[in-house]
Assembly symmetry: C2
Homo-oligomer: 400 residues x 2
């Protein structure tokens, strides 16, 4: 397989509107050119002509684990340990349910205030359903290590903070957690495709992530779930759907979990969305995530230095230290919402996260130095020129 050089070879493989600088690939990745044709082929040839037979002839049934193996390479996971399907909310729910089952005498789920809210909400729902006195304990991200103790059942955090881009040390926290008998569950939403992840090497127990951000698989693309092979044959599947049954087509009345991560399948897989994901992975299969990482850090350093030089009003909230940074750069600014609207109107698309964070995602497959330099100029125009104060940028949209 020919290796693709990041940006130099890969930028041409994406569709981006002329003149747009897209720094929101950490929310929704750009469109790989191969997607439309791949999805169209699945619709017209597989669904249209093969119809129900395509579950066998086109491999729809086995696709979730095959695609899982392609993602596994990007996150340092063992072959056969990753299953694709559903949404990230549901995948963390499955994993947390399994993890709590492994530690019945402990009642604390430890997370941090930088975890993405849906993870916290799903945990709340699970804890209420369990009704066994579990407690979701939230501390500040920097207090996580100190909060580990032998009363914690599960360490349940997102590696890279969706607001600040601050990155946890997965290997260190996992080792420390294991020494205390704590099961670990990592959300990789802002890690997969953003930076090298070493699930197997760090010894993580469970992990989940989405594919519509850095993996560029499209809006509402399916999520993935990692279960460490040492747990996969014993982890309880709380969402015990028929596709995770040992013999789904025997239509037995009683549930019996399939072996391995296969048990974490639930219902019918989203075949059209899976086609888009496969087309996107055709690019990822050929790039080196270490090269992506090096470029991302360089782009981040450049954006930080340009913005700090011209816009002292913006306060950097992303760690400067490479080891502690994900693949985004965020600034706090009181007028952040309006400023982001003004930037978007000028073709620089980042996004805003309450209460005051302006986020800029760095996706080196299709964003390079020139885009960052130009974006910084426009940020300066909006901030220093006080363009963001104009009334038209104060209107709040339904979805930001």
């Amino acid at each position: 397989m020919t290796r693709l050089r990041v940006y130099d070879d890969t930028k041409a493989l994406f569709h981006l509107p002329d003149g747009l600088i897209y720094l929101d690939g950490n929310s929704l990745g750009a469109l790989p050119l191969g997607v439309a044709e791949r999805v169209n082929r699945v619709i017209t040839e597989e669904w249209g002509n093969e119809l129900i037979r395509a579950w066998n002839t086109a491999g729809w049934y086995v696709q979730p684990r095959h695609v899982g193996d392609r993602i596994a390479r990007l996150i340092g996971a063992e072959a056969g340990s990753v299953m694709v399907g559903d949404t990230l909310s549901l995948k963390v729910y499955q994993a947390l349910a399994a993890a709590l089952d492994m530690t019945p005498s402990r009642k604390i789920v430890l997370s941090d205030t930088g975890n993405f809210p849906t993870d916290l909400y799903m945990a709340e729902g699970l804890i209420a359903t369990l009704g066994r006195g579990h407690q979701l304990r939230l501390v500040a991200p920097e207090e996580i290590e100190g909060a580990l103790s032998d009363e914690i059942a599960v360490l349940y955090i997102t590696e890279v903070d969706y607001r600040t881009g601050r990155r946890h040390d997965m290997a260190k926290l996992t080792a420390r957690a294991h020494a205390l008998g704590i099961v670990t569950l990592w959300d990789l939403a802002h890690s997969a495709g953003a930076l090298p992840v070493d699930l197997a090497g760090s010894g993580a127990d469970f992990a989940a992530g989405c594919t519509y951000k850095y993996l560029n698989a499209g809006p509402g693309a399916p999520a993935f779930l990692y279960v460490a092979p040492r747990h996969a044959d014993s982890a309880r599947a709380a969402l015990s759907g028929w596709m995770g049954h040992a013999k789904p087509f025997a239509f037995e009345l009683a549930y019996a979990a399939a072996g391995g991560v296969e048990r974490m399948r639930v219902g019918t897989p989203p075949v059209l969305a899976m086609a888009a994901l496969e087309a996107s992975l055709d690019i990822w299969d050929k790039v080196d995530i270490a090269e992506v990482r090096a470029r991302s850090l360089a782009l981040g350093d450049l954006l930080i230095s340009e913005v700090e030089r011209h816009c002292p009003q913006l306060k950097l909230v992303t760690p400067r230290d490479h080891e502690r940074r994900g693949s985004q750069v965020s600034f706090a600014f009181d007028g952040g919402y309006a400023a982001m609207q003004a930037l978007i109107a000028r073709g620089v698309i980042g996004d805003f996260r309450a209460p005051d964070i302006m986020r800029f995602g760095l996706t080196p497959l299709y964003v390079g130095e020139n885009e960052i330099i130009r974006a910084a100029e426009i940020i300066e125009e909006v901030i220093s020129g006080e363009v963001w104060r104009r009334p038209e940028y104060q209107v709040v949209n339904a979805v930001t």
Copy 2:
């Protein structure tokens, strides 16, 4: 809106391979011609050009409830009572969790052995997670009414049996259940788009269904969930994801359920699959489900009489009574698996369900009398000619 005549106007709106007689639309519906273009437009114009902005500009965020309203019309549901997303397995899990929360002093979930296995499996998983001594009680479908009592918490059944096509009386069973203080949860997998459903009129509490069968939305298309408006503001959302939060974009640390059925959203909606569903509903919006039903029953009567006349070896397991029949005709036959392989090899696609059921789905939007007559001839050739005994038809596929 111009009304479309069922079959006469609608058959041309589907792609079907030449010479194929497709009697498996109860498993995966045929491809509506409008799907490929619609999905392509969402990929290239909305995702490709609008990128993250499409959540607002293309209405992605509000789509699940808008599409829910289009489905509501087909199942007799109130506007604003149906939410689209996830899979049917997950939607029955959500509904069952909410239903059990409404009846805390009762511990029995009543279902029948004709319920689709994933419903039973998901209930098993939920009951284990709840850990409060609930029990899933299974009786034969014909014993359901007699098994209703004031110890039952939830009546949890599929209206139309996936194997036999036997239909429960939703209005009668719901009324009887309510008289005993039982909450009702109906699986409409083989009802939505197959026959008129009157959720509001029958007083059902919860219902869920899929869109890849009679609704023709494609493999892995999203499911829907109905919550009766009288419960929608109080039903507990056990799968409490951020999209069901009252203020999802406030990114608060604590969960607060949105009002109404909106709380039953979980994660990011599957936008590409939703586009296929919308294209499919463009046809459904213009047909009268009563006309679909009349045609379906006539096709079923025809298939039964033709097969019984020529193939006495096949034993009808579908009720002859129109009131008690869904939109499929099934026969028990010991060589059913092999016979179905032989039929498929001859271009008549039905399917097989263990242990011995040959199923033929009736989808009048694209199946008419001529197809049924020709299918019956080929069935006769395979059965009476003993073609099914050939060794090549004994090989079992991974997915049937």
